[in-house]
């Protein structure tokens, strides 16, 4: 247990150091973007809305903001009852970044950041909105693709390194950076949580661990290719939780189901009482995974943005003397949280799998 804690700290510290430079960059960027918001706010309404600014930064978007008024337009893909509709997201905004109606198979317009169908007079058309399915490559989807490409490049090259260099030579370069993390997941997470048959679940655990980890860190980088709050998005965490749910319940053995529906070693009335609770637990476990990751990552982003917003609340540059060091400090903690949440998600997934697949010996347990 001690050695695994040590490994955990080593890995956390290593990653910590790697991403040390980022919070500083984050500050510069946040400053500039926030200033722009200030300008915009002064121009348009003369009022700085903190909640709106923060929500704008953490929610999904159809374009990827780079700097100033420059942003990358992303493809909008809509599946409608009139067929696929694909166009660039730059059509949805005018030069003042105000939503405009774009006419294609339907008339599309952004309503509070969401693409919907507009009527001829520019108001929301609920009826037709229900007919379109939005599969757009949004900022989060693009960020997801970037993270997937990074993971594929890194891990396929590492996998090749093992094939090429054989097992007799010591790991080198990227290989030696990745191997301790993989061994940590195996020895610190999978083995103690699942037991002797952990091997079957290792690919799944490693995939979710590294996918969450890289997206947590990409989320901390304030500019492209980071900046998207993917692991703080409920859709992303929901899909991960759904896969955990599927893996756990498809691998659950008869003891697992017996413990849910007819708890052994109990009075029949207790069994009846426990069955619905256990059944709810089956769903609550992945839901707790979903909410934990979403809430932790989003909360971290909100905290950093709130601290930066202090400057605009007090309307003085001197506030940055307090706000920036605090934001740096929180960003450093976020680096730790980024690792920790990936670890916790993987650890709990492994424990749920372990609970569902363990070979029970009733005389030992009850």
């Amino acid at each position: 247990m001690r050695s695994s804690l040590k490994q955990l700290l080593t890995v956390a510290f290593g990653l910590f150091v790697v991403f040390f430079a980022i919070p500083t960059l984050a500050q510069n960027h946040s400053d500039t973007t926030a200033e722009q918001h200030k300008e915009v706010a002064h121009k348009s309404e003369g009022e700085f809305n903190v909640a709106e600014t923060i929500l704008e930064h953490i929610k999904d978007d159809y374009s990827w903001h780079l700097f100033g008024h420059t942003s990358v337009s992303l493809p909008v893909i809509l599946y409608t009852d009139k067929g696929l509709d694909i166009f660039s997201s730059k059509n949805l905004l005018d030069e003042h970044h105000e939503p405009v109606v774009y006419n294609s198979k339907y008339s599309y317009k952004l309503f509070e950041g969401k693409l919907k169908v507009a009527k001829a007079d520019g108001t929301l058309d609920e009826e037709n909105t229900a007919k379109i399915w939005d599969f757009s490559i949004t900022k989060n989807v693009a960020s997801l693709f970037i993270s997937v490409i990074i993971l594929l490049v890194v891990f396929i090259s590492v996998g090749k390194a093992y094939n090429k260099r054989g097992v007799t030579s010591a790991p080198k370069g990227l290989q030696s950076f990745i191997e301790p993390v993989i061994v940590f997941i195996r020895d610190g997470v999978a083995k103690p949580a699942i037991g002797s048959h952990y091997g079957k679940f290792m690919p799944f655990l490693l995939t979710i661990f590294f996918l969450i980890l890289i997206n947590n860190f990409l989320g901390l980088i304030p500019f492209m290719p980071g900046g998207a709050n993917l692991s703080g998005n409920i859709a992303f965490t929901m899909i991960l939780a759904v896969f955990v749910f599927i893996v756990v319940n498809f691998n659950g053995n008869k003891h697992y189901w017996q413990h849910i529906f007819w708890m052994p070693g109990m009075h029949w009335s207790m069994k009846l009482f426990l069955a619905p609770i256990e059944l709810v637990g089956v769903f609550v476990k992945p839901i707790s995974l979903m909410i934990r990751l979403f809430a932790n990552i989003t909360a971290g982003h909100v905290l950093v943005l709130s601290l930066i917003c202090l400057i605009f609340i007090f309307k003085t540059a001197y506030a940055s003397a307090i706000a920036v060091p605090f934001a740096v400090f929180i960003s450093l903690i976020e680096c730790l949280v980024a690792f920790l949440q990936a670890y916790i998600f993987t650890m709990l997934s492994a424990m749920y799998i372990g609970m569902a697949t363990v070979e029970h010996h009733h005389e030992d347990h009850h």
Binding site: G113, K114, D134, F155, I156, M202, T207, A235
Partner: protein, 170 residues
Amino acid sequence: MYFLELDPLVTPSIGLLFWSTVAFLVLFFVLRKMAWKPILNSITEREQGIEDALSRADKLKADMSKMASENEALMQKAREERAVMIKEAKEASDKMIAEAKEKAKGEYDRIVGDAQQAISQQKNAALTEVKNQVGALVIEVSEKILRRELSNKEEQEKYIKELAQSVALN
């Protein structure tokens, strides 16, 4: 209405759900084949190799120490045997010497006895001969004396003296 303001935050969008599923499945199946299996197999294989090497080394060490102790025992046994052999040889030689001495002494005794016997025999023989010669001489002398006595008394005495002298010379 406040809840609706937070709506985008807690409402999953179909697009991201779809792309997340696709991305996760692609990532999972590609990495499982191209990365996790070779990496995990290699790590396991290496660990197994190290473990084997260590256990082999341990076994070798144990064998070596066993061999060393066996050697030591063998040496000890050899030393004991040598001591026994030396002791036995010494005993045998001592016994041989003692026997030889004994035999020599017996021989000596026998030779001395024989010699003494021979000496005493010869002495007896010599004495007998002396006695015989003395007897013969006495007879001879007595004869001569008797003859002279019969002729001359003076001459007789002189002759006895002569005889006596000749006897003494003999």
